[in-house]
C-alpha cells in the first residue's frame, strides 16, 4: 500500500498537480473582516487579488485547526495505513503545530475506540519552507510514493531534497510582510530613504534579505541569474501573484536550465498572498545532486 502525502495550502501546489499525484491539501483560513474563506477553495487567487487593494481592514490568515487535520488524517487512513504530512515552516505558520496536535487527537481517538491499529503511522514534518519551495518537496515525495517508496525512504528523500532547495522572491513592497510580522531579518530593509526593490529568500525557515536593487527590472534580472548560476537545476517553479505575463516570460527563458525542461508556473494563493502582496515574482528550485 502506498504512503499518502498530505500538505497544507501554504505550499501553493497547483490543483491539477495535486489531483494527479493524489496529494491531500489542507486549506488554511483567510479572514476578510468577519467572513472566513478556505484558502484556494472558497476564494480563488484572482478573486482575492481583485479585492485586496480595497480591503479595509486588510485580510488576515490562520492555520487549520487541529480538528481539521484529525478529520483529514482519519479520512486518508481509510485507504492507507501510512501518511507523510509535509508542512510550512513553523517559524512562519502555526500549521505544523496544528498538524501535530491533529495527529495526537486522532491517535487518541482511535485508541479510545479500540481501533488502534499499530500499523497506522502518521509522520508530520516541518519542512522549513513555504510556497513552492515546500511544494516542490511535496511533489517529489508524492511521485516517489506513487513509485512505491516506503515511509522511511521518503523521509530521507525529503531531507536530502530540502538541503538543495532554494526560493528567492522580489516583492513590490515589504508592507504586507511587515504587517503580518513575517519580515524577520529583512526588516533591516525597511526605512530606507531611497526607493529600492528588496530581494528576499527563505533560509532556516525564515524570511531573510537576499539583496536589494534600484529597479524591479534589475530585481527580476537577479532572480533569473540566481537560477542560471545554479543551472542545471533538478526542479523549478515560478510564482506570481498578479503578474502572470512576467512569470510566463521568465519561465520560457529559464526552461532550458531545468533538467526535465519543465517549469511549474503557479499563482500565489490568497493566504501566502496576504503576506506577500501583489506584484510578487518568486523562483523556487532544487539543485541537482553533487
Amino acid at each position: 500500500m502506498t504512503v499518502s502525502i498530505v500538505t497544507d495550502s501554504v505550499s501553493d501546489i497547483p490543483k491539477d498537480i495535486a489531483e494527479k499525484l493524489g496529494i491531500t491539501v489542507v486549506p488554511l483560513n483567510l479572514h476578510f473582516g468577519t467572513t472566513t474563506y478556505l484558502d484556494n477553495i472558497d476564494l480563488t487567487a484572482d478573486e482575492f487579488y481583485e479585492r485586496l487593494p480595497d480591503a479595509n481592514p486588510l485580510p488576515t490568515t490562520s492555520q487549520p485547526s487541529a480538528g481539521a487535520f484529525a478529520d483529514t488524517y482519519r479520512s486518508v487512513l481509510e485507504n492507507t495505513s501510512e501518511i507523510l504530512s509535509l508542512h510550512a515552516s513553523s517559524k512562519l505558520s502555526g500549521t505544523y503545530n496544528s498538524a501535530v496536535l491533529g495527529r495526537e487527537e486522532l491517535l487518541q481517538e482511535l485508541e479510545n475506540n479500540g481501533n488502534n491499529n499499530p500499523l497506522h503511522t502518521i509522520e508530520v514534518i516541518d519542512t522549513q519552507w513555504v510556497s513552492m519551495a515546500q511544494g516542490l518537496l511535496v511533489i517529489a515525495a508524492a511521485e516517489a510514493a506513487q513509485d512505491g517508496m516506503n515511509l522511511n525512504d521518503l523521509k530521507s528523500l525529503v531531507n536530502d531534497l530540502s538541503s538543495r532547495t532554494h526560493i528567492t522572491a522580489v516583492v513590490d513592497t515589504l508592507e504586507y510582510l511587515a504587517r503580518g510580522g513575517r519580515l524577520g531579518k529583512a526588516g533591516a530593509f525597511l526605512g530606507s530613504i531611497l526607493s529600492l526593490k528588496p530581494i528576499l529568500k527563505i533560509e532556516d525557515g525564515e524570511v531573510q534579505p537576499a539583496g536589494r536593487v534600484r529597479s524591479t527590472a534589475k530585481a527580476r534580472q537577479q532572480l533569473r541569474e540566481n537560477v542560471i548560476n545554479a543551472a542545471p537545476v533538478e526542479r523549478l517553479a515560478l510564482a506570481y501573484s498578479t503578474t502572470r505575463d512576467v512569470a510566463n516570460e521568465m519561465a520560457a527563458e529559464l526552461q532550458q536550465h531545468v533538467v526535465s525542461g519543465e517549469v511549474i508556473l503557479y499563482q500565489i494563493g490568497p493566504v501566502v498572498g496576504t503576506h506577500a502582496g501583489p506584484g510578487l515574482i518568486a523562483t523556487a528550485w532544487i539543485d541537482t545532486k553533487g
Binding site: 531579518k185 526605512g191 531573510q208 539583496g211 536589494r212 529597479s215
Partner: protein, 547 residues
C-alpha cells in the same frame, strides 16, 4: 616611582604641582572606561572619560618643554593648551576649570592653602561661564561644591596647607557627586552619578593621593548597572547628528553675537574663550552650516566632526550583553547631512564626516572602525583623495579592512545598496564593488577660467563634471545640470537620482524636478536631499543593464 610624603608642607612649588597633576592624569587614565560607562548626559555616547583625559593630557603635555619655575607661564600655557585640546562638553568645562585655576594662581611663586582656595573659586566661576545653559547635577555643581568645601575649610583652619584644602575639596566633591542624581533626573533614571563629576573627583583623588604620598589604588570597576532598555529608549536618531568642534582664531564678530548665532544652529552649544581664541562645541545635524558660519567669523582650526549615533551605538553595545556582532560592517565617508542619513538607512554602521575639502585623518577613520561591532570592516572612502588614507588604516587596526575605492558618495550609495549585514565580508566586497560602478556627474562652480570645446567658461560659472572632465556648462546650476544629464546615459529604464546640496533652495528643488521630468519623461527621477557643500547637484545614473 618613589614619592616623598608632602603632607606637612605648607606650600607647593611648580615641580611639585606638576608632579601632582601627572598623578591626577595617571589616575584619570586608569579610570577612563569607568567614567565612559557612566555617561548618560547630555547624550548617552560614552565618551566623557576619554574627552576629559584627552583634554587634561594635552594641557599637561604643553608644559613638558617649559622651565618648571614660573607658575604664571606654566598655568597660562596649560590653560591655552586645554582650550585648544578640549574635546566634548566635559572637556570644554574641564578646560575652563584649568583656566580658572591658572587665573587664580597667576603671579604666585608657590601655592599655599589660601591661594589654592582662591583658585578653586576662580575655577568654579569659569566653569559656570563655560556653558550657555548651565545644568545642575553635572561637573559644574561638583566643582562649585568642591570650591565651597575648600572655602569652608580655610575659614575654620587658616594657614592650612594645600594638602588640607585639597582634601576638603575632595570630600565636598565626593558628597556633591553622590547628590547629582537628585539634581538631574536623567541620572536617577539611569541609576548613575554624573560622569563628568565622577571624572573630576577621580582627578582630584589622583592629585591628593600623590600629595599624601599614597600609592594609587586599584581602578574603579564598571558595574554595568545602567538599564540598557533605558539607553535604548534614548535612541531617537533625530536627537543625535554630529558632534562638531573647532577652534576659532581672531574673531571678527562680537563674542556674544557668535554665541547667540551658534545657539540657534544646534544643541549642547558651548563657545568658550575670547575673541582671539575660542572653542566651539555643538551638536547638529548639519555641521556644514556651522562650519560655514565659523569660516565667516574667523579662522578655523582643529575641526572635528564625529557621528554621535555611532558613539551611542558603541556605548549601547558596551552595556548590552546581547551579541551585537555582525558578519561585516560598513564605514563610509560623507559630507552632507542628507547623504549621511541615506548611508545610515542603507546599513552603514558609521559615517565619518569628510570629503573634497576636508579629508578625514587615519585616526578619524580608525575611531569609526573600532566603533563597529564587527571584525570585518568595509570602508567606502567616497573620494579619490581619501582612498589612500582609507588604505592606511590596515596598519593601525587589528580588524580586517576592505577598502572599496569609491570616488563619490553616489558610488558609495550604489555599493551600500548591495550590502548585506549577515553576508561574509568577502562576498559583500565582490557584490558591492560590482554595484559601485555606476555613471555619475556633479555640478559645481569653475574655480578658474577654462576652455571647454573651444568655449570659454569663466571662473565662478556653473559646470557639470563627469569622469574628471567638464562636460556641461550653463548660466545656472540647473541649466548646467540639465546639460549634464543630456550627456549621461539616460535611457527609458534608467533611474536618475539627483542629490541636491546645501546651497539649493527648497523652491528650486521643485522646479528642478519639473525641469528634469519634462526633459526625460520616460525616466524615473528621484530628487533627494544630499546636503553636500560645494556641489549644487550630484547625479547618479542607474541603468538596468549595469552590473
Amino acid at each position: 616611582m618613589t614619592r616623598k610624603p608632602n603632607k606637612q608642607s605648607e606650600t607647593c612649588s611648580p615641580p611639585q604641582m606638576l608632579a601632582a597633576l601627572h598623578a591626577g592624569n595617571t589616575w584619570l587614565e586608569a579610570n577612563v572606561e569607568f567614567i565612559n560607562a557612566l555617561n548618560v548626559f547630555p547624550v548617552p555616547d560614552g565618551d566623557t572619560g576619554t574627552n576629559m583625559l584627552l583634554t587634561f593630557r594635552s594641557s599637561l603635555q604643553s608644559t613638558d618643554t617649559l622651565p618648571k619655575t614660573d607658575f604664571e607661564i606654566l598655568t597660562k600655557t596649560m590653560s591655552k593648551a586645554a582650550l585648544l585640546g578640549a574635546r566634548g562638553n566635559s572637556g570644554v568645562i574641564l578646560s575652563q576649570i584649568i583656566d580658572g585655576f591658572a587665573k587664580g594662581l597667576s603671579e604666585k611663586k608657590t601655592i599655599d592653602g589660601e591661594s589654592l582656595t582662591f583658585a578653586f573659586q576662580e575655577a568654579s566661576k569659569a566653569a559656570s561661564n563655560a556653558m550657555v545653559d548651565p545644568v545642575e547635577g553635572t561637573m559644574l555643581t561638583v566643582i562649585r561644591d568642591a570650591a565651597t568645601g575648600a572655602k569652608e575649610f580655610i575659614r575654620t583652619t587658616p594657614d592650612s596647607s594645600p594638602s588640607g584644602v585639597l582634601q576638603a575639596a575632595l570630600t565636598a566633591a565626593r558628597k556633591s557627586l553622590e547628590n547629582t542624581p537628585n539634581l538631574l533626573p536623567v541620572l536617577k533614571q539611569a541609576g548613575v552619578v554624573d560622569s563628568g563629576g565622577q571624572g573630576l573627583v577621580i582627578l582630584l583623588e589622583g592629585i591628593c593621593n600623590h600629595i599624601d604620598g599614597k600609592p594609587l589604588p586599584i581602578p574603579y570597576i564598571h558595574s554595568g548597572n545602567i538599564d540598557t532598555d533605558w539607553i535604548k529608549s534614548q535612541n531617537t536618531s533625530e536627537d543625535y547628528g554630529f558632534c562638531t568642534e573647532f577652534v576659532i582664531q581672531d574673531m571678527n564678530t562680537p563674542f556674544e553675537e557668535v554665541q547667540s548665532v551658534l545657539r540657534k544652529l544646534g544643541d549642547s552649544e558651548g563657545l568658550i574663550g575670547d575673541i582671539s581664541l575660542a572653542r566651539v562645541h555643538i551638536h547638529t545635524d548639519d555641521p556644514d552650516a556651522i562650519l560655514k558660519y565659523g569660516e565667516g567669523v574667523g579662522q578655523l582650526e582643529q575641526v572635528s566632526i564625529r557621528d554621535m549615533e555611532q558613539q551611542h551605538d558603541q556605548f549601547l553595545s558596551f552595556h548590552d550583553n546581547t551579541d551585537l556582532a555582525i558578519a561585516s560592517g560598513v564605514v563610509t565617508v560623507a559630507s552632507g547631512a542628507g547623504f549621511a542619513n541615506i548611508m545610515r538607512s542603507l546599513g552603514s554602521s558609521a559615517v565619518v564626516w569628510g570629503g573634497q575639502t576636508m579629508n578625514p585623518s587615519v585616526e578619524d577613520l580608525l575611531t569609526a572602525i573600532e566603533s563597529v561591532p564587527s571584525n570585518d570592516i568595509i570602508l567606502l572612502p567616497n573620494n579619490k583623495n581619501i582612498i589612500q588614507t582609507a588604505k592606511q588604516t590596515h596598519s593601525v587596526t587589528g580588524k580586517n579592512i576592505h577598502v572599496i575605492a569609491t570616488t563619490s558618495m553616489v558610488e558609495g550609495i550604489a555599493a551600500l545598496i548591495a550590502f548585506l549585514q549577515d553576508v561574509p565580508a568577502a562576498q559583500n566586497v565582490v557584490d558591492m564593488t560590482q554595484a559601485s560602478s555606476i555613471e555619475w556627474g556633479e555640478i559645481t562652480h569653475a574655480v578658474r577660467t577654462v576652455q571647454m570645446n573651444g568655449v570659454t567658461v569663466n571662473a565662478g560659472s556653473p559646470i557639470g563634471i563627469s569622469d574628471d572632465t567638464i562636460i556641461s556648462t550653463g548660466n545656472t546650476s540647473e541649466e548646467s545640470l540639465l546639460n549634464l544629464c543630456k550627456k549621461l546615459q539616460v535611457k527609458t529604464d534608467t533611474i536618475l537620482s539627483v542629490y541636491y546640496g546645501s546651497e539649493v533652495e527648497d523652491s528650486t528643488v521643485e522646479e528642478t524636478t519639473m525641469m528634469l521630468r519634462s526633459a526625460f519623461p520616460e525616466t524615473e527621477i528621484e530628487l533627494l536631499y544630499g546636503g553636500q557643500p560645494h556641489y549644487a547637484y550630484i547625479v547618479a545614473v542607474d541603468n538596468e543593464n549595469d552590473s
